[in-house]
């Protein structure tokens, strides 16, 4: 009596790990035949629409809701006054310094608004259309206050204040000094003794995560409890935080992240709208849905990046680096959200990159401005750091008249030096920077392109060519809980998994790493198929529901495979250990005499005997014939807490054409060799690299959240916030080297952020390399054709863009897509 077909004990299935399996989740995700949160319809469900501030900074004098309240099908109109006692503050889980200033973040403004798009009231209606119609009927009387949009002015003398009740725009100042920490020499002395010092000011423009599925939340009250569906990356964190904010006991709150259409860090948040949806459902006792529009998403979901970076590098004449100093202004926006202050701090450890700096000092000021709060965005802190170090290495090479690659080679950590403790105190695990670079140059066709560059220079070709490098590393696998605790982050960094052996031999894997498009279901199935020796198709991966996956810390920071996958592997190994006991009993052999291969236990040296783990599942379910004193279950769970981060690395090389007549830049060729450790599924790895490259290139060339002088977001639609499509991106030549991570049982390092972190400086360095002989030494991102043209023909870094949005759609800025128009604003006073 077997539930599965007999399989010869010797010929197990081919190893799953390493195979380019197509993702089992894709068909339903792509066709939309799945539960996106907005697809949910519950009986009696009400709909929310949010009235948002058109002012960046103002006192709320009065909110007149009468007209809206009496509009057709409107059930309730609620304001900050209605929620002020119960809404608490959006939590900040990362107080980076003991004296960090946190102004408090109401979900709906009570007395003051601090950025355009902040919620001032919510409409509850029987249909989404009725709710939306009533938004225009809410009459808010604002008293405008001075607006803070510029970080340098905000931290200068006598600045206007972002928050009326604070006496500073500075949230925190956080310093890491390697000399003081004992991980390096005294930085000032290192600089004083150096032959050469290069100083630059780089700007990390503000970006918008721009996930494909807009945010949506549904809350259903049931008895004295609530179920929340939300398009979130972090259902587990959300549940804990919502319980702490709203006082709904944790065990009375179930949070479900159904299929989620992208996040990029943008859904690593506890959002005001999630809090409001829960509060409204509690107040009215009815199911409530909120789904945002794209315009709302662009202006009110958190943004990313936005730093002004002062970087100083010291070296001797031969090109040996001697020290690095970093001073950052990091824009928090108007409020601190979940990990806003932690983002630049996460970057603090990555500025030294792959180089052996003897001295390092990092100094960061977190600054408030009247803009949408910033928080995690793909890479979170590490792209900013990588950009700074990879750009300044090129500047140093120019100063020393050295080949930029030669300078890097001279200073990077040698393959034989791992594990290597950096000046920032991190222990890099493994890698070979030289090998990755060698392969990348070959992929690119480096020598031919250099020769062409030379020809174009000599003939004064209007189209010039440049080549740029980024030899990067990043810290992944967030994170060792003890390290987080010392920083001090509000949670641990472990991950949980459990495995359930079903009676028919099928397997359910429950993971705490909630995916939002990465392909966990496929990769986890591959891991478990190999560990248990069961077919890939027999594994189902469950996730995202706190009632099913009770413990978890979700998906961000390239942690899922490295930490969550490790927990899955460990749980599977426990299942095998339990099954071994049962097998020994059934085969009447001792456990030591059993071998486990291809999913079957057999007695060593006794061909023909054997019982598969899938058969053992049924035997365990029946439990008729079971070893004495052993509980009838093969199920197991595991929690994995890494001891160290993992450090993917790679070399990215970009060849860029610059049309000096128009300033247009176009990528001629892009090659990268990434070392992400062990590759579980090459197709998924390549997909992650491609997507990351698209986003990193987008930062270099296309995307920027632009605010005008009044604090209006003028890139309020995708007409002006330019997300490139496949048509705008080059072919990518990708390859991998493999140095396994020693810190987890899989040997994987993480790939989710690599492409995004590495590519931006390679692209900018390439553009600069093309026009440096024309006197250009920096161009602000994004490298719009106008900026490139100005830098070439007028000098400087291309300068600020005009802030007005383009006129397509008749100028898509309205008070509902951006903010308020005054004579000063680029929206124009007469709109």
């Amino acid at each position: 009596m077997t539930a599965v077909e007999d399989r010869p004990a010797t010929a197990g299935p081919a190893k799953e790990v390493g195979q380019a399996r197509r993702r089992k989740e894709d068909a339903r995700l792509i066709t939309g035949k799945t539960t996106w949160t907005d697809n949910l319809v519950l009986p009696g469900m009400l709909h929310l629409a949010v009235v948002r501030s058109p002012f960046a900074h103002a006192k709320i004098l009065a909110v007149d809701v009468e007209a809206a309240r009496s509009a057709p099908n409107v059930v309730a109109v609620l304001t900050g006054q209605d929620f002020k006692e119960e809404q608490g503050s959006i939590p900040c889980a990362w107080p980076v310094t003991p004296d960090m200033v946190n102004p408090g973040h109401p979900s709906v403004a009570v007395e003051e608004v601090n950025h355009v798009g902040e919620a001032v009231a919510v409409i509850v209606a029987r249909s989404k259309a009725a709710a939306q119609d009533a938004v225009e009927l809410v009459d808010v009387d604002y008293h405008p206050l001075p607006v803070v949009v510029d970080m340098e002015r905000a931290t200068g003398a006598n600045p206007d204040l972002c928050h009326d009740h604070l006496d500073t725009n500075e949230s925190f100042r956080w310093i890491f000094d390697a000399g003081e920490a004992g991980t390096g020499q005294n930085t000032d002395e290192a600089f004083a003794a150096a032959d050469v010092v290069v100083r630059r000011r780089f700007v990390q423009q503000r970006l918008i995560p721009a996930f494909m599925e807009p945010r949506a939340t549904v809350v259903q009250p049931q008895g004295d409890g609530y179920t929340m569906w939300s398009s979130t990356q972090v259902p587990h964190i959300l549940r804990i935080m919502l319980a702490m904010i709203t006082g709904v006991p944790e065990h009375k709150l179930r949070v479900i992240a159904p299929d989620v259409g992208g996040g990029f860090g943008g859904k690593l948040q506890v959002t005001p709208e999630e809090v409001l949806t829960l509060l409204v459902a509690r107040k009215l006792g009815k199911p409530v849905k909120w789904t945002e529009t794209r315009s709302e998403s662009l202006m009110s979901a958190h943004h990313g990046r936005d730093q002004i970076q002062h970087i100083e590098i010291a070296a001797d004449r031969e090109g040996n680096v001697k020290g690095l100093k970093v001073h950052l202004l990091a824009d928090m926006g108007a409020y601190l959200r979940l990990v806003s202050p932690g983002v630049p701090i996460l970057g603090a450890f990555m500025f030294p990159g792959i180089y052996k700096f003897p001295a390092y000092r990092f100094d960061c000021q977190g600054v408030f401005t009247n803009k949408t709060p910033t928080d995690a965005y793909r890479g979170a802190g590490r792209p900013e750091a990588t950009f700074a170090i990879e750009r300044i290495m090129d500047e140093l090479a120019v100063e020393l008249d050295m080949d930029p690659l030669e300078l890097r080679r001279k200073n990077w950590i040698g393959a034989q030096e791992f594990p290597f403790t950096t000046v920032a105190g991190l222990e890099y695990d493994s890698g070979d920077y030289d090998e990755a670079t060698r392969q990348a140059l070959e992929l690119l066709g480096y020598d031919e392109l250099r020769a062409e560059q030379q020809r174009r220079r000599e003939t004064n070709d209007p189209v010039q060519l440049g080549i740029g490098f980024s030899t990067f590393t990043e810290m992944c696998g967030l994170a060792p809980s003890r390290v987080l605790g010392s920083h001090p982050y509000g949670a641990g960094g472990w991950e949980h998994a459990s495995i359930r052996m079903l009676p028919t031999g099928k397997v359910e894997v429950v993971t705490g790493s909630t995916p939002h498009g990465q392909g966990h279901e496929t990769a986890w199935s591959q891991l478990v198929a190999d560990e248990l020796g069961v077919p890939f198709e027999d594994v189902e991966v469950l996730h995202g529901d706190t009632a099913i996956s009770a413990r978890g810390l979700d998906t961000y920071g390239s942690r899922s495979l490295v930490v969550g996958g490790a927990a899955v592997v460990n749980a599977a190994q426990k299942v095998v250990a339990k099954a071994r006991t049962v097998a020994a009993h059934l085969l009447e052999a001792s456990e030591e005499d059993l071998q486990f291969e291809g999913g079957t236990f057999s007695v060593r040296g006794t061909p023909g005997t054997g019982v598969s783990i899938q058969e053992l599942a049924l035997a365990t379910f029946a439990a008729h014939n079971f070893p004495e004193g052993v509980e009838p279950s093969l199920d197991a769970d595991a929690t994995f807490d890494p001891v160290n981060f993992s450090f993917p690395h790679g070399t990215h090389v970009c060849a860029m054409e610059v049309d000096t007549e128009t300033g247009r830049v176009s990528i001629r060729k892009y090659a990268c060799v990434d070392d992400v450790g062990k590759i579980v599924n090459p197709l998924i790895v390549e997909g992650q690299v491609h997507g990351g490259l698209a986003q990193g290139i987008a930062q270099a060339l296309y995307e920027e959240a632009v605010y005008d002088a009044d604090g209006n977001l003028t890139t309020g639609t995708f007409v002006d916030y330019l997300v490139p499509s496949a048509a705008d991106l080059p072919h990518f030549d990708t390859a991998n080297t493999v140095h396994e991570a020693p810190g987890n049982p899989i040997g994987a390092k993480g790939v989710g952020e690599a492409g995004c972190i590495a590519s931006t400086p390679a692209v900018v360095n390439a553009a600069l390399d093309a026009v440096r002989h024309l006197g250009v030494s920096d161009i602000l991102m994004p490298l719009t054709p106008e900026r490139v043209w100005r830098a070439i023909h007028q000098g400087g870094d291309g300068g600020d863009r005009a802030t007005a949005g383009t006129n397509a759609y008749g100028g898509a800025q309205t008070e509902t897509t951006t903010g308020v128009s005054t004579p000063e604003s680029s929206l124009g006073g007469d709109r």
């Binding site: 989404k128 259309a129 939306q132 119609d133 225009e136 529009t293 315009s295 007549e661 128009t662 247009r664 296309y702 632009v706 003028t714 890139t715 639609t717 007409v719 002006d720 330019l722 490139p724 499509s725 048509a727 705008d728 719009t784 054709p785 106008e786 043209w789 100005r790 863009r801 005009a802 802030t803 007005a804 949005g805 383009t806 006129n807 397509a808 759609y809 008749g810 898509a812 309205t814 509902t816 897509t817």
Partner: protein
């Protein structure tokens, strides 16, 4: 977002459409492909009380010849324009410019007439119509009238169309002689509107440029002709220097705006460079 509530009418003839428009009053709006109107309604920049949908008015769709003119129905979609053999033969400039409009999905719904009636200064087709001296046939309660391109584009998003009129077709004169054409578009991503673009049609005669017609996209609130350049090119030798010299006048008389993509001085510069490139390509010589 969700548009404000509106009445919806779907007539099947031009006469029915005109009546629906008259009945709908001041706030009635025509819906063609909806690729410009629906977004502005969803953003609540426009809130028409009645929407008159022309998609079932089959007499407005298609391309035909009428003596010396090519007649393009207002409801001919961009994708129909791109693949139309008559347009390819007589006015390839229109097909070339239309191919640069947006993406496949938008071109499948968006229409030739809608793009012209919308008169977005960043839109690609108005400057092409202007360069080709097209004529616009407008139908109203009192009958039909024909307006030349130079008079059709009045101001920012404003045309000679009265509120109760419908653009029914566009007549493009067939050009006699040896004409070359080129549309040179400058934008940042593939599906975007023009930052600046130049439509050029050039007639060559014995190694000379006999006549040039140049339309400029997004160099002011309406499409413009680069008149000074056209004059400088008339009778010039078809060579790089003469073209560059003439193109240097391309921004004269323009009034471009400042926005995220370009300040006015950069737009003027682009107009000169792109005019040189467009004329060079249209004249069929090596740049």
């Amino acid at each position: 977002m969700i548009p404000a509530a509106f009445e919806y009418v779907r007539p099947s003839t031009v006469d029915e459409a005109l009546r629906a428009l008259a009945d709908g009053g001041e706030d009635a709006k025509i819906l063609a492909g909806g690729q410009s109107l629906i977004p502005v309604m969803r953003l609540r920049l426009a809130a028409p009380s009645t929407v008159v949908d022309l998609t079932r008015v089959s007499e407005l769709r298609g391309v035909r010849e009428d003596g010396d003119a090519l007649v393009i129905g207002a409801m001919t979609t961009h994708s129909d324009v791109v693949s139309d053999p008559l347009i390819a033969q007589h006015a390839p400039l229109i097909a070339q410019a239309t191919e640069t409009v947006a993406d496949r999905q938008v071109r499948h719904r968006g229409t030739f007439g809608g793009a012209l009636a919308h008169a977005d200064p960043a839109g690609d087709l108005p400057a092409v119509a202007l360069a080709l001296d097209a004529e616009f046939v407008l139908a109203g309660a009192g009958g039909r009238r024909t307006v030349p391109a130079r008079e059709f584009f009045v101001d920012y998003l404003t045309t000679a169309l009265a509120e109760d009129e419908i653009l029914v077709e566009v007549r493009v004169p067939k050009l006699a002689g040896q004409w070359g054409m080129h549309y040179e578009k400058f934008n940042r991503v593939a599906q975007a509107w023009s930052i600046v673009a130049v439509a050029a049609a050039v007639r060559r005669e014995d190694g000379h440029i006999a006549e040039a017609r140049i339309g400029l996209t997004n160099m002011g609130p309406t499409p413009l002709r680069a008149t000074a350049t056209e004059q400088a090119l008339a009778g010039a030798t078809a060579g790089a220097d003469a073209i560059a010299g003439a193109a240097a006048h391309a921004a004269e008389g323009t009034a471009p705006s400042d926005d995220l993509n370009a300040k006015a001085d950069y737009r003027e510069h682009l107009a000169r460079v792109l005019t040189r490139r467009a004329v060079t390509a249209a004249a069929g010589i090596q740049g």
